[in-house]
Symmetry: C2
């Protein structure tokens, strides 16, 4: 691998995806077609504030879409990965593999 190739790769890692909690969220959303806030909360074992922040950054970057509805009288929020999100998640891994050990 040449110098310029390595340079390209570490600069092309998408920081929005790269954060472990967001990686885990995207992983979950590639398997399940839709999950809600509480599922993510208990699955990931993070605090609510932390989760909300990660979700917002994924939403802002258009990786996920947010659906808000009422179930009876209780608000309920669920998430799906977007088509572009899925594509960029795949692409992220292709890039990342170039940094795997020999």
């Amino acid at each position: 691998m040449s110098k310029s190739q390595i340079n390209q790769i570490h600069n092309n890692i998408d920081r929005v995806i790269h954060e472990p909690v967001r990686l885990a969220i995207l992983k979950i959303l590639t398997s399940a077609k839709e999950v809600d806030f509480n599922f993510l909360l208990t699955t990931l074992g993070v605090t609510k504030g932390n989760l909300a922040t990660h979700i917002k950054s994924l939403e802002t970057a258009d990786f996920i879409e947010v659906k808000k509805e009422f179930r009876g009288k209780i608000p309920h929020t669920s998430y799906r990965i977007t088509r572009t999100g899925r594509r960029r998640f795949q692409k992220y891994w292709e890039n990342l593999k170039a940094l795997a050990p020999e």
Copy 2:
């Protein structure tokens, strides 16, 4: 994949390795048996201060070892990956793969 499995994984990502510049450094050091500061500097395209900081964190965590010598009158610093560093780099990737897309 179960909830607890996903939780384990995103918590077990080694943050020292996970940073892209350090990933790239470790990748380089798994291929070349020894490289110097300037090689890393030009290869990675980062600033000196930034590189020094990343190197220190890798050294502190015992991933790499640092050799300082004089070449003529000019100081020269080079780096190798340690045995434990190589092992932990491998392990990191095994863990990480669990978060790859389906």
